[in-house]
């Protein structure tokens, strides 16, 4: 029983990672510039460094790309909420 559960878990992990790695190749070359303008001119070193998390977070990033996000989300905090307005 334990072996079956673990085998399923490990297989799931393997599939998730395989899709993630394929996605990450696309994301670090083209996708990241679509989500964040500062990434368009990013250096090769930058692209290598964001590769692992691009593979690990692929469902989230794919969703953002599908929604057509073009800038990183603007953060809210208590002062901005209380004062309203402004970049």
């Amino acid at each position: 029983m334990l072996v079956q559960v673990v085998t399923l878990f490990v297989a799931g992990l393997g599939i998730y990672a395989a899709i993630g790695i394929l996605f990450a190749f696309y994301f670090v070359s083209l996708g990241c510039g679509k989500l964040d303008p500062m990434a368009k001119q990013g250096t090769i070193g930058f692209r290598i460094l964001i590769f692992p998390a691009s593979a690990a977070l692929w469902p989230l990033l794919a969703l953002r790309l599908a929604r057509g996000r073009q800038t990183p989300p603007i953060e809210r905090n208590a002062h901005r909420d209380a004062a309203g307005g402004g970049a």
Binding site: L2, V3, V6, T7, F9, V10, L13, C32, L35, D36, P37, M38, A39, K40, Q41, G42, T43, I44, G45, F46, I48, L49, I50, P52, A53, A56, L57, R64, P72, P73, E75, N77, A78, H79, R80, A82, A83, G84, G85, G86, A87
Partner: protein, 350 residues
């Protein structure tokens, strides 16, 4: 302000920091392996390396966890904080080396796939003292991987700081998993009171520092949410061209003193939530300590052509005390700086 992402934003300080850290790690590994090899001549090279990498990662984790509260207790430790992410990545690399070697040593070459063998070779999940310790290490390593992999500024911006911080708070979960991993591993292999003592001491230092800094910080925070100005500190409590940070209206406010004046802006940098109050006034602008975004202290706006703005606050100086209206004004609203009275300024400079 606009910057393109680079691999690593190294400057002189960060290079010195990284070099010192790498030298420290190598020195530790050399000493650990040397001492263990002489005191325990039967230990194989693989065992020495597995233990060396594992203990080095655990030691770095303790240092990383201690830096936050230390920097809050004494600004002298702030430089350690700015490059803490590099320390985190180094810790992950050490933990990964430990894990890979342990997998090869204990789980490769059998009939089972190594990762399956890791979870099933000891199936005693209902026991406390014999509980399999290796899966705990696996899950801790997974958390450390997510933290190391998302340590680049790109992730801070794109996951947004609150999500990023939540993810990085998982370090405490990793810490408890690792303590379990080590305690069970050590207990099941040998019973060394020395190691248990060292672990206990490490935990006492980390938690003692966290509790002390949280307690002192709570005592320091002025809670003003209502109407009217709040007395935040004495003028002389703020060093020239620097700020004092206070908590008002649910967030931190940076109260700066510069050129005989006092201004207050929200402490949160528009770029990636860097702590503006830990920066300095450079060329008349508050300069964020993280990546150097600048804001004019009187209106919280970046100098043209840049367009970033942060909320501002009304300020008064009266009888040597600094008073701040806790209601934030819209980002970029100009506020007349409070002038420090002549005699008070003279007193300060004498």
């Amino acid at each position: 302000m606009s910057l393109n992402y680079q691999a690593v934003g190294w400057n002189r300080q960060k290079k010195i920091y990284d070099r010192t850290m790498v030298l420290g790690v190598l020195l530790y590994l050399g000493l650990f392996i040397g001492i263990t090899a002489t005191t325990n001549p039967t230990a194989t090279a693989e065992t020495l390396m597995i233990r060396g990498f594992g203990t080095a990662a655990l030691l770095l984790l303790h240092i990383i966890l201690a830096i936050g509260p230390l920097a809050r207790l004494n600004p002298m430790f702030l430089p350690l904080l700015y490059n803490r992410r590099h320390m985190g990545v180094t810790m992950f690399v050490l933990a990964l080396a430990h894990a890979v070697l342990a997998m090869i040593q204990f789980h490769a070459g059998g009939d089972q796939f190594p990762l399956i063998s890791l979870f099933t070779s000891n199936g005693d999940y209902s026991s406390v003292s014999q509980f399999p310790f290796q899966p705990l290490g696996f899950f801790a390593l997974a958390i450390l991987f997510f933290m190391a992999a998302t340590s680049h500024d790109f992730w801070l911006a794109n996951l947004t700081a609150p999500t990023w911080k939540r993810l990085h708070m998982m370090v405490y979960v990793a810490y408890f998993l690792l303590i379990g991993h080590v305690v069970l591993g050590v207990l099941q292999a040998e019973s060394s009171p020395f190691l248990a003592g060292v672990l206990g001491l490490g935990a006492a230092v980390v938690w003692g520092l966290h509790l002390t800094s949280a307690w002192l910080e709570k005592a320091d925070d002025e809670e003003g949410n209502g109407e009217g100005f709040v007395d935040v500190c004495a003028v002389e409590d703020i060093p020239e061209k620097r700020a004092r940070i206070v908590c008002l209206s649910g967030e931190r406010v940076a109260v700066f003193k510069y050129d005989g004046k006092v201004s207050a802006i929200s402490n949160v940098c528009r770029h990636q939530n860097g702590p503006l109050g830990e920066g300095k006034v450079v060329d008349g602008c508050v300069t964020c300590p993280w990546h150097g975004y600048q804001y004019r202290p009187h209106d919280g706006a970046s100098p043209p052509p840049f367009t970033e703005k942060v909320p501002t606050f009304r300020v008064k100086v009266s009888e040597g005390r600094v008073l701040v209206d806790p209601r934030p004004l819209a980002p970029g609203t100009a506020v007349e700086p409070a002038v420090i009275a002549e005699n008070a300024a003279e007193e300060l400079s004498s």
